[in-house]
């Protein structure tokens, strides 16, 4: 077995396997960029199968379709890398959509003065995101202060969030979010349907969030600390990482991004529904895992997860173009999730238990 360690050293003389792999260099490379490889493969496949797939308008549609899941997957990735999980993202998206809907349709009544304040559309967006960040902070507080396992804590807040969203307007939607000239709060739907330089706004939002989160993850102390906490909490703590603070903050980011996703949904539909975002947490986890994020924590990239979200969106779009029914789409998406997690397990074994996982990779 000492020999095996030596072999590992030798293997890593190859530049490809230098970064992550203990398995064969090509296998490790394919594993690492599996989301990208998968994206290319299915895009080539659909290009051959459907004449309308590789067109500008269809590709834009796919990107818009992926933007919601992409935003959620970014936050989810940071949480999972830190060693946690956030099941409440869909509920926070729905709740914050309702917050935004209420602010536009009902405004903020100030009873003492007998007036109703209608915030500007931009202020509405900021308040909505702040509400999401607050919800995330509650998650972080429950997890790090009350020591509730992340899965359970966010499962609880999933229910609470969805319940609050339904309660906010007695289960009804807030329709017509265009605002009125009299209230000075017009322009909100632009976030969902508007164009900037011929490209829909949600795509811009996803691009900006991807770049920003990627920069935070790779180019800040906080980002590096997220990876350290997820990789080995005790070693991180002894290296001066404020473990509790790091673990709490990733939920705040995830909450804020969930809110942004919920706002985009409301803007796209021009109406805020309490059920919006139901089940999206699982799509986000699927995208993150597909993109190479390890559910054991410590490993994963923002760009990988966004590519993972694109894979899912391309898959759904291509299947629709081919006339495959909704039901089959679900089955195939489920298949992709299972395969992704299976790949994650193989990769986990290879890294954490090289003495037995190495063989698993070869198999």
């Amino acid at each position: 077995m000492k020999d095996m360690a030596k072999q590992d050293l030798k293997k890593s003389e190859h530049p490809e396997s230098e970064t992550r792999g203990t398995g064969p260099a090509l296998g490790a490379l394919l594993l690492k960029f599996r989301a990208f490889v998968a994206l290319i493969v299915i895009m080539v496949l659909f290009t051959f199968l459907s004449s309308t797939f590789l067109t500008w308008s269809n590709l834009i549609t796919v990107l818009v379709q992926s933007s919601i899941n992409g935003l959620l997957a970014i936050g989810m990735t940071l949480v999972i890398v830190s060693g946690g999980i956030d099941l409440s993202v869909g509920a926070i998206a729905g709740l914050c959509g309702m917050v935004v809907g209420a602010l536009i349709d009902v405004g903020i009544p100030i009873h003492a003065l007998g007036v109703v304040v209608y915030p500007h559309a931009w202020a509405v967006v900021l308040i909505g995101i702040a509400a999401g960040a607050l919800a995330g902070a509650v998650n972080g507080w429950i997890i790090t202060r009350l020591n509730v396992a992340p899965f359970i804590a966010t499962l609880g807040t999933l229910y609470i969030g969805r319940g609050l969203a339904l309660l906010s307007n007695n289960g009804s939607t807030f329709p017509f979010l265009d605002g009125t000239k009299a209230h000075g709060n017009m322009g909100f739907p632009w976030l969902g349907n508007g164009l900037l330089l011929d490209i829909p706004v949600p795509i811009w939002l996803l691009a900006i969030a991807t770049l920003a989160a990627s920069a935070v993850a790779t180019r800040t102390t906080f980002g590096r600390h997220i990876y350290a906490v997820g990789g080995n909490e005790r070693a991180a703590a002894l290296s001066g990482v404020k473990v509790r603070s790091v673990r709490a903050r990733v939920y705040v980011i995830s909450g804020a991004l969930s809110a942004l996703a919920g706002i985009v949904i409301a803007a796209q539909l021009d109406s805020a529904g309490a059920a919006a975002g139901t089940g999206y947490e699982l799509n986000a986890i699927a995208a993150a895992v597909l993109g190479g994020t390890s559910l054991m924590g410590g490993k994963g990239t923002i760009t990988g997860s966004v590519i993972g979200a694109l894979v899912i969106a391309v898959l759904v779009d291509g299947l629709i173009l081919l006339g495959v029914s909704d039901f089959w789409q679900m089955i195939i998406t489920g298949f992709v999730i299972v395969v992704a997690v299976a790949i994650d397990q193989v990769q986990f074994n290879a890294v954490k238990f090289p003495w037995r996982g190495g063989a698993a990779v070869k198999r």
Partner: protein, 504 residues
């Protein structure tokens, strides 16, 4: 001499970077208590798990009654007559005694569990142990010593020929230990070979018939217990070879870099405590902290690093008082760092590269306007790898692919980057090969000449004697001796380490 019932021959077990067992021979005799002893990390628990089928050896052979056997799982080992009672009793507290004893082997009749049979066998086994315990009682409601008897009954259900007991007395009171020993003597009389693992040396003398001592994954002694004493066992456990590291020879400064007064920590999960400890460490001085397992050495270092806010007493670093609630990161900022004992659990971040591990504690110093520049810390990492002679192809190599010694150097390198004034090192030589050990110790000597104060814990007397300018001996949470370099020998260390133990 009893009949040989079980033999392990030339057992090797290695994990990446470390060799846990190196051609180990072990023999157990029927109707005898076969002691297995060794310091933490000596390979005891690995050997025990191999015998019990929980771990597969890399090389070597197991013989039961002279027949070669291989146990793929603990269940298989149990079926063939090798039972084990773990230190942390593997019982389900929510289930009854009978259910626990039959867990995984429920007797089924017509598709349902045959409770009658289950209870009958349970009663029979408990009778054999001469203990009347109700088979229908829920295990969680029983006392620890009774639970232990249930665990033994579970292991004996299949007429075990060999019974492994891992630290069976760790949770028992003196009276309960007597009961257990009576039980062990009964089992001996029935011809069972007992493999007994314990740190409590007095116990071993009392109950043992044969003793096998492991040190650094090798057998250092195998003998009949007759006429052996505790110092003999300690010598075999800790070794007495000299360590070839030249001492730094520099005079430490007069001023203490660390000053500890009346530091106390009531108790921890591990049961160890720190009891009213006072001492100084001077700049440029290497202070050794010797003691046996559970003496409170690790806990003392943890208190100093701020991991136990509930600790009381005064700690000063270079004249500045460190409050008990001061966090790890603030202590690192002030120039102290802990290099933990358990490299895998608390030292390295397995998912990161060598370079990422080395720079981990130093990130804020690389920040420019809140951002980490491209290739931040690369120069520090490169010079650390070069200075400490870490064998790696590049800083981008995963840390888990390095040997134990090189991982340890990486952790030391991480600590050095914060430009420490005081290093707390818990067993810096543990689990790494002799050459890497000598390199680490040479580095420690060099750091002392550069004016860094070092407080290091070791269970190995040769390390203490070779390295320390001054040695503090701990026992039962207290400092029982302070020994100046060259003015003591290993015997003094042992006597001091066992001192409070005898008193208790």
């Amino acid at each position: 001499m009893g009949r040989v019932i079980f033999q392990a021959k030339q057992i090797c077990k290695s994990y990446p970077g470390t060799i846990a067992l190196d051609h180990v021979d072990f023999t157990a005799y029927a109707g005898s208590v076969n002691i297995l002893v060794g310091e933490n990390g000596a390979g005891k628990s690995t050997l025990m798990k191999i015998i019990a089928g929980a771990v597969q050896p890399t090389e070597g052979q197991l013989l039961l009654d002279g027949e070669p056997v291989a146990f793929a799982t603990p269940t298989e080992a149990a079926e063939k007559g090798v039972g084990i009672v773990y230190q942390e009793l593997d019982l389900c507290p929510n289930m009854t005694v009978a259910e626990n004893i039959f867990l995984g082997h429920e007797p089924v009749k017509h598709g349902v569990i045959n409770r009658q049979h289950q209870d009958d066998v349970t009663r029979h086994v408990l009778d054999r142990l001469d203990h009347k315990i109700d088979p229908d009682q829920v295990v969680g409601e029983l006392g620890v010593s009774t639970q232990q008897i249930v665990a033994i009954a579970k292991a004996l259900r299949r007429d075990a020929k060999v019974l492994i007991m891992d630290e069976p007395t760790s949770a028992l009171s003196a009276g309960e230990v007597e009961t257990l020993f009576r039980l062990i003597r009964d089992l001996k009389a029935q011809g069972v070979a007992i493999i007994y693992i314990s740190h409590r040396l007095e116990e071993l003398i009392e109950i043992g018939d044969y003793i096998t001592v492991l040190r650094d994954g090798k057998i250092s002694a195998h003998a009949e217990m007759d006429g052996l004493d505790i110092p003999w066992i300690l010598r075999q456990m800790l070794g007495d070879t000299k360590l070839d590291v030249p001492h730094h020879g520099a005079e430490p400064s007069v001023d203490p870099i660390l000053s500890v007064r009346n530091l106390s920590l009531p108790h921890t999960d591990s049961g160890a405590k720190v009891d009213n400890v006072s001492f100084d460490v001077k700049a440029g001085e290497i202070v050794g902290l010797f003691g046996l397992m559970g003496a409170g050495r690790t806990e003392l270092l943890e208190c100093l690093m701020g991991l136990h806010p509930e600790a009381s007493g005064q700690v000063e670093l270079a004249g500045e008082t460190l409050g008990a609630r001061l966090g790890v990161e603030q202590r690192i900022d002030r120039g102290m760092m802990l290099i933990p004992e358990d490299r895998q659990a608390a030292g390295i971040v397995q998912t990161m590269t060598l370079g990422e591990n080395i720079s981990l504690a130093n990130l804020t110093r690389y920040e420019r306007f809140g951002w980490l520049p491209r290739n931040f810390g690369a120069r520090d990492v490169a010079s650390t790898i070069k200075e400490l002679a870490i064998k790696a192809t590049s800083a981008a190599q995963m840390i888990t692919t390095l040997s134990g010694g090189n991982q340890q150097k990486a952790i030391v390198g991480k600590a050095l980057l914060i430009r420490p004034r005081l290093l707390l090192m818990d067993e810096p030589g543990r689990g790494i090969d002799v050459k890497a050990k000598a390199e680490i110790f040479t580095i420690m000597n060099r750091l002392a000449t550069e004016g860094i104060g070092i407080l290091f814990v070791s269970s190995e007397m040769k390390e203490i004697v070779a390295l320390a300018d001054r040695t503090l001996v701990m026992s039962e949470g207290r400092i029982t001796a302070e020994l100046a370099r060259g003015k003591y020998d290993e015997n003094d260390l042992m006597v001091s380490a066992a001192r409070a133990r005898e008193a208790v």
